[in-house]
Point group: C2
Chain length 226, copies 2
DNA sequence: AGCGGCGATTGACTTGGGTCAAGTTCGCAC
DNA sequence: GTGCGAACTTGACCCAAGTCAATCGCCGCT
């Protein structure tokens, strides 16, 4: 890789620590009353890539993954969504990724057309729609930065990101499988597993159960996170 | 990687062939009259990561790269912009990436605040701002899909993308160096070079000069592009 | 208790792409 | 022309992560 000579003087906080302009806070008003709450069971499809984007979704409980599948079967997970997150908002007619429930979920479903109609009248709503899309863009750009790093850096970054998004300070409860993590990070399940045990051996984390991770040395993780 | 069993029935066109909702067409109206045209010389910084985003930019001539630098010096190029493209539009206060002129450029510079003021009054403008951001999101998501592929697939995807964006059908004139391409694709300069000669040996492309590439077998490239 | 079965871990081996080090080509200044 | 430097290419070697395969551990079922 390049050794860039011109460096910015004001380094940005790493993605995992930075407070994203929370999509969860946007669009919380009377708009939500326009929606109906729907349940989805584990692994159920919420919408598919290229389907018409009739609705916007707000996750009430459970967790969701969005993804694309290449025609040779490789899957790339675009994002994980946790309760409070908005997802599935599109500007164009169609969804760009598919969405599935990782575990049983409750989702608030909001008609896109009525929201856009509202935005035509109310610049405040229009701005919130725009902000929500910008939030996704930020997420995607952080994701790109993850994908150019080493396996250890990617896993560290992922753990910090999940930790920043969950309530508990030092303990992360992962709703997704190793396969999901691997497909999010562009690694194999074996590499994710090996990297976690490496970090555990280095006393950086503890893994009491496979879905529960304790951050024992956040500094070390942040250092890895570049 | 995963062998996903549930496949969508309606496969999407690969990114390079799909017609993006062209940012170049958005926001072309009286708004442009609000801007002043500015020249930038080769390698000049147009704006820096984390700087206040006072302006939105429309490239009139030349080409531009946006990028981030990790604190160990690795650089990731976020996008290349060609004449007609808009860049540097932010919803938040600050730029998320830095932007530099790849060659001497002429850029139309538009005040963001006046544009946003206009959007408050005119829902048409508001929607165009939103669409422009959605366009960047699409680009970022396509970029993510590139980064999980093999070197040959990345290079093929890059060539198809550049070809789709340039006027000439079978010939691509690259404004950027091998280092820029490498930092865009998450590869090293050596791997990019080797991959291009591989493709040349396979009669898939021709490389009359290092900045000029002839697509001799677009089908083969598309097949690589997954 | 015993039996599957699935997800996760671990091990042995392979390989694609990175690293380091020469060359080569091209453009430009003199 | 000649000389120089930057960009690019090529070669030899190495290593991080992928592949393939075996094993473990946990949970639910009968």
């Amino acid at each position: 890789m390049l050794t860039q000579t011109t460096h910015r003087a004001t380094p940005q906080l790493p993605a995992a620590q930075r407070q994203l302009p929370a999509a969860s806070h946007a669009l919380t008003g009377q708009i939500e009353l326009m929606g109906a709450t729907m349940p989805f069971t584990r692994n159920a499809e919420i919408y598919g890539e290229n389907e018409r984007a009739e609705y916007l979704y707000k996750l009430l409980s459970g967790s969701v993954r969005t993804y694309k599948v290449l025609n040779d079967g490789r899957r790339q997970i675009g994002a994980f969504y946790l309760p409070g997150d908005l997802f599935g908002l599109e500007v164009g007619e169609n969804h760009m990724l598919s969405a599935e429930a990782i575990v049983d979920c409750k989702v608030l479903v909001i008609k896109r057309s009525s929201l856009i109609g509202l935005a035509m009248r109310d610049p405040e709503i229009a701005r919130k729609l725009w902000t929500t899309t910008a939030c996704e863009l930020q997420r995607a750009q952080d994701h790109i930065m993850l994908l150019i790093k080493t396996a250890r850096e990617r896993v560290a970054g992922f753990l910090l990101e999940m930790s920043a998004r969950s309530a508990a300070a030092t303990e992360v409860d992962l709703p997704m499988s190793r396969q999901d993590i691997a497909d999010y990070l562009g690694l194999t399940i074996e590499t994710v597993s090996r990297t976690l045990t490496q970090l555990e051996n280095a006393a950086t984390i503890a893994v009491p159960t496979s879905r529960r991770i304790v951050l024992r040395n956040r500094g070390a993780l942040s250092r890895l996170n570049s």
